[in-house]
Amino acid sequence: MDMNQYLDVFVEESREHLQAINEHMLKLENDPAEISIVNDIFRSAHTLKGMSATMGFEDLASLTHQMENVLDAIRQRKVQVTDEVIDALFESVDHLEAMVESIIAGGDGKRDVKDIVDKLNAIEKGKKQTPRTIDSKNGISGDGLDEFQRSILDQSVEQGLNPFTVKVTLEKSCILKAARVYMIFNVIEQLAEVIHSAPEVSDLEEEKFDHEFTVTLISEKEAIEIKEKISKVSEVEDVQVESYHTKSSPKESVEVAATMELEKSQEKKAENKGQNEPSVKSAQNNKTIRVNINRLDHLMNLFEELVVDRGRLEALARQLNNGDLTDTVEHMTRLSSDLQDALLTMRMVPIDQVFNRFPRMIRSLAKDLGKKINLEISGGETELDRTVIDEIGDPLVHLLRNSVDHGIELPERRSQAGKTEEGTISLVSFHSGNHIFIEIEDDGGGINREKVIQKAIENNIIDEVYAKTMEDHEVFQLLFASGFSTADTVSDISGRGVGLDVVKNKIESLGGQITVTSVRGRGTKFAIELPLTLSILSAMLITTGPETYAIPLSNIVESIVIPKSEVMKAHNQLVIDFRGKVVPLLSLREVLEVEGEPEEKDTYSIVVVRKGDQYAALIVDRFIGQQEIVLKPLGEYLSNIFAISGATILGDGKVSLILDCNDLIK
């Protein structure tokens, strides 16, 4: 069977289950006595096992199977939830995740899980972990079935299917044994599912057997029917079909029954609930479908084309000045902005997807560093464009690691400072206007101003004289300078040369900004501001010489016209006084090397743009107006052009470049 079509679903669902396992494991760690949590984990592991066995990912299936056994033992109170158990389970989840990732990357999901399986096995048997011995055949009993295969047989019995062993003997005169084997298997596969064959199928196909072979299978058909069908293949001398007796120990079958009962009673509960409160049930049945992101991207591209054409229509309507046409175009404009909203919401996914892997990460980091840390997450339901979600994970990981490593102090230090031993990192996300805010705040030691300055001077980022005049927020901003790390020792967690400058660059490439505030002894807060969507943005069109450029509104503070006499000079740089601030004045014509001379005027048309809390004033020739534009890349051939972040197609079909104000402000 071609499984490819199911692969996407498999990947999505296994991720969800792994995530669920992770979350429940964390809960279990805090509340080891709570058996209902173990049940939740068990269910996820169980589903995962079933799915991966169906898809043919055997390593995944066998590891989840072993996990299931341990979980079951916990449920039966045969095994205590100790740190060792939790760690082993977490380790298994790591392996599972790695396997799923390998499958996503197009691999076969194979992985050497022998060690961890042994470890789990030891836990299940109630022993301390023993060194690995050559007991790999341990799980295989006399009938040649391993434990996993036997468990499948057990389950099939539960489902009312019949397990059989079929012994087929071919005629001695048979020449093309492989061909017969092939035909027999063809017949069998129509009737039943093959669990095991002795010798193995590959050996059978290479005729590495005498004249008999045995197949273990499960089927809903009766023995007699199977026997008849197989006997019809020519050159088959004899077929013996016997019912297979599951040899599992009584203990195991009781366990299975217990699970079944448990699940049943829960189902019943759910049913009862449904009868009493039908409205609740319908609300839970939120209808969703999974759509490939490529299709949404395609839809977005089509819509972008539409926006370009809309611009063209608007321009035409203005030219022709026909009332009916203008009305229709205006209506279309309204409709298409509704359409845009609808489309954008479709691409939105909750940031939970990124957040939910952090509790695990913080747990292990804190453990490694001997710190006690409580991670509080809120606003996980905040939605962000899918493209941003894909990109924001790494910067957040970096910032969180930073908070764990440099922010939160060791427990002793904290008690000395009169704080609780357990530090708190809060991760908050919320909407405001057209932006998303993500804040990471810790109640650690705060940023040491002197240490930052000292380091910055050592690394030649600033000089001593200037350092004395710097305000706190300016000092903190130095953390984002490249090649900066304030930790005394380089640790595994952070401070490997790649610093916060990478985080900053990434966030800026997403059109966002990052700021840091800190109070000595009280904690540090990183605040990230991101635009809601990337590909369609509001911009102001301006001209310089014969050329038209678009400046994203998110960068613009104000557009003003000032008399030339108000321009001043400081350190060989033209500046203006903008609301009491001295702002450098740049001629866009010069920066962009536009040909020709500027018109002689008594005034400057100026667009004040900002990057973080830094401003710059750009001299332009004319303001054209505000417009929704579609961001299009310039392509790989022209990547990293100075001060240009992309291009857009205007209503008249011409291409106009989009200014990247980050490059203009130094």
């Binding site: 392509g635 011409k654 470049l657």
Partner: protein, 161 residues
């Protein structure tokens, strides 16, 4: 087998003119041939990068091939064409004097390029095809459209500033 052989020993080439020479690129690398249209200049790029055009909704970079090879630049005419090529997923338009022919180039007619031909250095060439009455210079587009060269040029420029 005989069919295989024809495939191996022959290629179809789009022929275009630059100055007085005829050049050829593999037809598989050519997406389309366009008339000259309004080009939006992209600031701070090498002079042979003329800018970008709107090619049916896709913003496509355009280079002037004369300028790329340091040949004398000329004004664009009705004959001027933009050959849109795709090499390693880079889509770039090349401005040429004219383009109007597709011909078969038998492999045995191709010779390694001389050091300089038509003012173009050998490193940008795949070879020279000697056909009955014409000489066709075959371009190595991967070298001609190497984006790293733009970066090197830009760095050079920034340093000299």
């Amino acid at each position: 087998m005989s069919e295989m052989k024809t495939v191996e020993t022959e290629m179809k080439a789009i022929v275009f003119q630059l100055l007085d020479e005829e050049y050829g690129v593999d037809v598989h690398q050519v997406r389309s041939i366009e008339r000259i249209q309004e080009i939006t200049r992209v600031p701070r790029t090498p002079s042979f990068v003329k800018g970008v055009i709107n090619l049916r909704g896709i913003v496509t970079p355009i280079i002037d091939l004369r300028s790329r090879f340091d040949l004398v630049e000329t004004t664009y005419t009705d004959e001027t064409r933009i050959v849109i090529v795709n090499v390693n997923d880079l889509e770039v338009g090349m401005i040429v004097d004219s383009a109007n022919d597709v011909i078969d180039v038998p492999a045995d007619s191709v010779e390694p390029p001389p050091k300089v031909v038509g003012g173009i250095e050998a490193e940008y060439l795949d070879g020279v095809a000697k056909l009955e009455k014409r000489l066709l210079i075959l371009l190595n587009l991967e070298r001609v459209l190497n984006p790293e060269e733009i970066i090197t040029l830009r760095q050079f420029k920034e340093k000299s500033e």
